[in-house]
Symmetry: C2
Subunit: 289 residues, 2 copies
């Protein structure tokens, strides 16, 4: 299949390479020339604009930072909408607000372009190992067509519901991971400040109902002082901004998500934005001397 | 061994019965006569006071609601301290404040009585099935002596550290379980209010880094509207009060624990105290119409 891919960063690059290795012809566009280098040895064509990509592709994946980037790629000058043939499908795998995804989907539909919101969890490691969890919103027909390509990039692909539902599921994922990371940091700091061996506490709690993947895999990183990303704090901050904006729009009380969003604000404000979000442990440690 | 057990409620009763079935002679005291009925068929002697229990026993377990109950049993009129022989060990399996446990341990030590704080997690089910997680604080020597009895009641027994360390570990457990229950409730309400199938979202997230035992076992209860205890909200409220008091004493910022403590206050205030703490889902649902 002719597959467009726009957004060749830490996540997008390995995802696109998996598609090429699965036998698809890649059509690429990127702002920076350096982004093309990893594609020298695969069937990949570089284009001058998203519109040129859209002319060649049956499906275009986008993997960028936030909603304005997706909008620019779709509707900006030289955007996908300018070059799209009828029947093109755009699958946005970025994490953006559910309302923005629904809006972009509706505007593309007016031009006969299909749209899926298909954000992922699993991070750079999941992208490299093709073990991503992919949560999809949109109509059945484009989902059925694109599913085999999603399965090249991830190990768990779920059609959650209508347009925007993939982003809602991703937002739920970011609530759970963000709040659980903060809860683990609070508990381990509590142990440490009480003069107790936090590693022993973590070990004892892993066997019971307090078990979470975060406690198992990130709890030990906190205690080892390993705050290298992984998943950067400024990205988690952005994702919880989306959650809190949706909560405001829906009239929804999310007290723990709000507390965690404040901690992420404080992390970015105190220079930890480029560290992994597990550095919230360090923030809480500093807060309490 | 001659084993005293005081506190024959939902947790204490099955725990004491396991000790009897393991061949130990039980020495019991309780406020209510009805508490003795389950012990009619085992080797159990009823006594008129904790002091009488202490005269007969090598080790006395206590399993009551809060620190004042433990203090009354130890130091009140007819308390354990009145009847204790030198070398008696008291193991308090209740959940109380770490500072209170350290204080009780120090006061018992002045009278030559050993003390372990040994709170548990796993709930009534864990008590009945002898699969409790037992977190122990105190000296090595009494721990070594009592460990075989703990292993009759639980499947995971960890000596966390010095006096009070068991209660610190339990407090960490209550932070993690309380905050994670609230986070799961927030995420599932977010999905539902966004018009998305929350069960599908839960299913998709179980495979990734958002996985927790709470999401797996309690997330489905929330969606089914099953709020029967389990672990009652007023007890989790009490445990987070202990956490917040310790945080105040230590000068420790615990923003998510604080948000969850407020939700538990609201649950008890709105008549959900006797329901399971997963009913926080219902509270959040009501809050947002």
């Amino acid at each position: 299949m002719n597959v467009g891919f726009i957004g060749l960063g830490l996540m997008g690059r390995p995802m696109a390479l998996h598609l090429a290795r699965a036998g698809h012809a890649l059509h690429l566009w990127a702002r920076r020339q350096a982004s093309f280098e990893p594609f020298a040895d695969v069937d990949a064509t570089l284009h001058a604009s998203p519109a040129e990509v859209a002319k060649q592709a049956d499906i275009v994946f986008t993997m960028v930072a936030d909603a304005p980037d997706v909008e620019q790629i779709c509707f900006g000058p030289g955007g996908l909408a300018e070059g799209a043939r009828a029947g093109l499908i755009v699958a946005d795998m970025s994490t953006i607000a559910p309302a923005a995804a629904r809006d972009i989907g509706a505007r593309l539909a007016q031009r006969g372009i299909g749209f899926l919101d298909a954000p992922v969890s699993g991070g750079e490691k999941g992208a490299i190992e093709a073990t991503l969890t992919i949560m999809v919103g949109g109509n059945d027909e484009p989902f059925a067509r694109i599913r085999p390509l999603f399965e090249v990039m991830g190990k768990s692909v779920t059609h959650i519901g209508a347009s925007g539902a993939g982003q809602v599921a991703k937002a739920c994922n970011q609530i759970l991971t963000g709040v659980t990371v903060a809860a683990v940091a609070e508990a381990l700091n509590f142990a440490r400040k009480s003069g107790v061996d936090a590693a022993k506490v973590r070990e004892a709690l892993l066997g019971g109902s307090a078990y979470s993947r975060i406690l198992e895999f990130h709890g030990s990183r906190m205690l080892a002082g390993n705050f290298a990303p992984g998943f950067k704090a400024w990205m988690h901050q952005k994702d919880l901004r989306i959650v809190m904006e949706e909560a405001h729009r829906l009239g929804l009380a999310l007290p723990n998500s709000a507390a965690t969003a404040q901690l992420l604000n404080a992390m970015v404000g105190s220079g930890m934005g480029e560290e992994d979000s597990v550095a919230v442990y360090k923030l809480l440690e500093r807060l309490s001397g």
